[in-house]
């Protein structure tokens, strides 16, 4: 366990390096908790289908070099259109304001590194950080012990942030494998509205392992949308934990679009803390070669009259491997819950696999909970229909797969994001076409 030893041995150097004013004790405790159990293995029910060995057996550099050679052109390629977005660019673990465009007004925006150096921020910070993240998980503890960069965004009451905020975590010019721990906090106060897009990119041939934790707080009648655009290269690993806590009458969406990355594990927890809450989770996964993408979701229906919708589509080529585990917990007081869960998969090659498992634990008696999972191949009759119109087999397949994935895109209201997903879909299916 190469990484495990490094984690234990590097911590005091890491803390010393940070020069932060607070949180050090909590970090040490978190490390101890992590150390007690170590990384989860395949014996752990939650990691039964996802072997982390290829991540944990490698050695990593914990202190990435700051210097980078990312050009303006390379950045432009990642942008979804400059004028319609704000963007926050972290490179090699540091915020780069010169590449960012932060026009957010009337909202409190801080980078974590700044915030933790300022004692005045301690109170605000402690009010939120690690309050909804599960404290018993290896990766959340590891993240608390080691997180270094990320952002804190608080949108005050009734403020609507018009431009979606695109957050980039970039890594470049690292000779050795590099380990990053990113942390995000999003607080959307009553009646406020915001949309965030998150992407991670490794530009090197050396490996990057990112352990990311995000906490989202959506207050009364507020709306938060978070889109994860996972399109990293073949030498990147991502383990993500996102926790969203919602108060009454609020609406929160987390969409996860997974095209790239060697191994991606997404963990998504929705916690309901009021009535009349709506939660949406959509996912499109298209992977190939020996990629693995694992979605673990959990919705905690703790209160009555709330709704949750999960719609995950997976397309698997070559020897790729998909995992879906969707948990829905309905507390005995959560009457009139409406929980919907759907996971549909298409396996394009014989070597591709999907492990899909819906898991519903319902303790209330007046609820509507539905779930379904399917695994199939493309419909031959549909394929023939398109080919008989002169569309080649490959393109006909792509059209049908687009149609299959399409309803998981329905609630994206950012057109350039939709266009980007369509483009990535075409790329992944190796066709040149617009849908």
């Amino acid at each position: 366990m190469a990484l495990l030893n490094q984690i234990i041995n590097n911590h005091s150097d890491f803390l010393e390096n940070l020069q932060h004013r607070f949180l050090n004790e909590e970090r040490k405790t978190a490390l101890q908790k992590f150390e007690a159990k170590g990384f989860p293995t395949k014996k752990d029910e939650e990691y039964k289908y996802t072997n982390l060995k290829e991540i944990t057996e490698k050695d990593y550099n914990f202190f990435p070099s700051e210097e980078h050679h990312i050009s303006k052109e390379q950045l432009d390629e990642l942008h979804l259109g400059e004028e319609h977005f704000d963007w926050i660019v972290f490179i090699n673990g540091k915020l780069h304001k010169e590449y960012s465009n932060i026009s957010i007004e009337n909202a409190e925006f801080l980078t974590l590194n700044e915030a933790l150096k300022d004692s005045a921020k301690k109170e605000t910070f402690n009010q939120y950080i690690n309050t909804i993240a599960n404290k018993d998980l290896a990766f959340t503890n590891l993240n608390l012990a080691y997180f270094n960069e990320g952002f804190f965004l608080k949108v005050p009451k009734n403020i609507v942030i018009e431009k979606p905020i695109h957050v980039f975590y970039l890594s470049q010019n690292q000779e050795k494998n590099t380990f990053y721990n990113a942390r995000n906090l999003l607080i959307v106060e009553a009646g406020a509205k915001v949309e965030v897009i998150e992407s991670h990119h490794n530009f090197d041939e050396s490996f990057v392992f990112t352990n990311s934790v995000t906490e989202i707080f959506t207050y009364q009648n507020a709306k938060a949308d978070w889109h994860k655009l996972q399109n990293d290269n073949d030498t990147s690993y991502l383990v993500d934990h996102t926790f969203a806590k919602q108060e009454r009458d609020s609406l929160t969406t987390v969409n996860t679009f997974s095209f790239g990355g060697k191994l991606v594990r997404n963990n998504l927890d929705f916690i309901h803390n009021g009535e009349n809450i709506n939660s949406f989770m959509n996912g499109i996964t298209i992977i190939a070669k020996d990629q693995l993408v694992d979605h673990h979701t959990a919705v905690h229906h703790n209160t009555p009259n709330c709704e949750s919708y999960q719609n995950y589509k997976g397309i698997f080529k070559d020897k790729s491997h998909g995992v879906f585990n969707g948990k829905v917990f309905v507390n005995k007081i959560a009457q009139k819950t409406n929980a919907y869960q759907q996971n549909n998969n298409i396996l394009l090659d014989e070597g591709a696999t999907i492990d899909t498992k819906p898991q519903l634990e319902i303790f209330a008696d007046d609820v509507k909970c539905s779930h379904g999972c399917t695994v199939g191949q493309l419909n031959e009759d549909a394929l023939f229909y398109l080919r008989a119109r002169g569309i080649s087999k490959k393109e006909a397949q792509a059209l049908l797969l687009y149609a299959f994935a399409n309803d998981a895109m329905q609630n994206i209201d950012i057109e350039p994001l939709k266009a980007k997903i369509e483009k990535l879909l075409a790329e992944k299916l190796e066709v040149e076409m617009e849908f």
Binding site: R387, R389, G390, K393, E395, Y402, A403
Partner: protein, 247 residues
């Protein structure tokens, strides 16, 4: 244009369905194939269009003198064969307009032509859709998704007119249509028809033939064409059924 000689075909690993079909269609002609259920009518159209579920065990299909049996469905489409489906497939998220653009340009590409300029394409779409009484919002809807039976068939004819094939095979295009929709579809086919192309109608009922005048009517039963006549044969079939021919 189309010359089918002694065509035998079976379902993959299954029973023989076509048992020696001979059929010649020349430019400018309209042919109708009628026959009882299970005669092999839809199999014949699928085999001409290249559906891979069927295996041709004997005979040949010549199109413009070239045997097309080994061609993929899209290659046959590129050569000018069009088939309108009895059950068109629903494709959510792909609009009628985008689909027809993709199909048009794929066919042009295969024939060594550049993509059709967007403006020209739109004009073409407008002209053809107006002719078929297709409303504008229909064109931005997802292909066949939630379409009524009549809308699906009208959309098939619209695609036929846009793609302008040499040979149009209309498989049970009249089924599920009310009389108004039937007339619109027939008007479309009549507008498409010219001296250089040909139409093959596959139908159960004579009523479509009141609107589209066939030059030849063939009766297909038990995998073979058992009788060929002119338009009056259809009327005779309407009156007497198929039994008298099968004895």
């Amino acid at each position: 244009m189309l010359n089918i000689k002694n065509l035998h075909a079976k379902i993959e690993d299954g029973a023989e369905i076509l048992k020696g079909i001979n059929l010649e269609i020349k430019p400018g002609e309209v042919h109708a194939i009628m026959g009882p259920n299970g005669a092999g009518k839809s199999t014949l159209s699928s085999v001409i269009a290249g559906k891979e579920d069927y295996e041709v065990t004997d005979g040949e299909i010549l199109f413009d003198g070239e045997n097309i049996i080994e061609d993929a469905p899209e290659e046959r489409a590129h050569k000018g064969i069009f088939m309108s489906f009895q059950y068109p497939v629903e494709i959510p998220g792909v609009s009628v307009t985008n689909f027809i653009k993709a199909a048009m340009n794929e066919n042009r590409k295969a024939n060594g032509l550049e993509d059709m300029p967007a403006k020209e394409m739109l004009a073409e779409i407008r002209e053809k859709s107006e002719l078929l009484g297709i409303k504008k919002d229909f064109l931005s809807r997802s292909l066949n998704e939630g379409f009524s039976g009549g809308e699906k068939k009208r959309n098939e004819i619209f695609q036929m007119m846009m793609l302008n094939p040499k040979l149009a095979i209309l498989d049970e295009t009249d089924s599920g249509l009310d009389i108004d929709a039937l007339r619109i579809v027939a008007d479309g086919v009549n507008a498409f028809k010219n001296e250089g192309n040909a139409v093959l109608l596959i139908t159960h009922y004579q009523r479509l033939l009141n609107y589209i005048q066939p030059d030849f009517v063939h009766v297909l039963a038990n995998g073979k064409i058992i009788k060929t006549g002119d338009k009056s044969l259809a009327l005779e079939l309407e009156e007497k059924g198929y039994d008298w021919l099968l004895q």
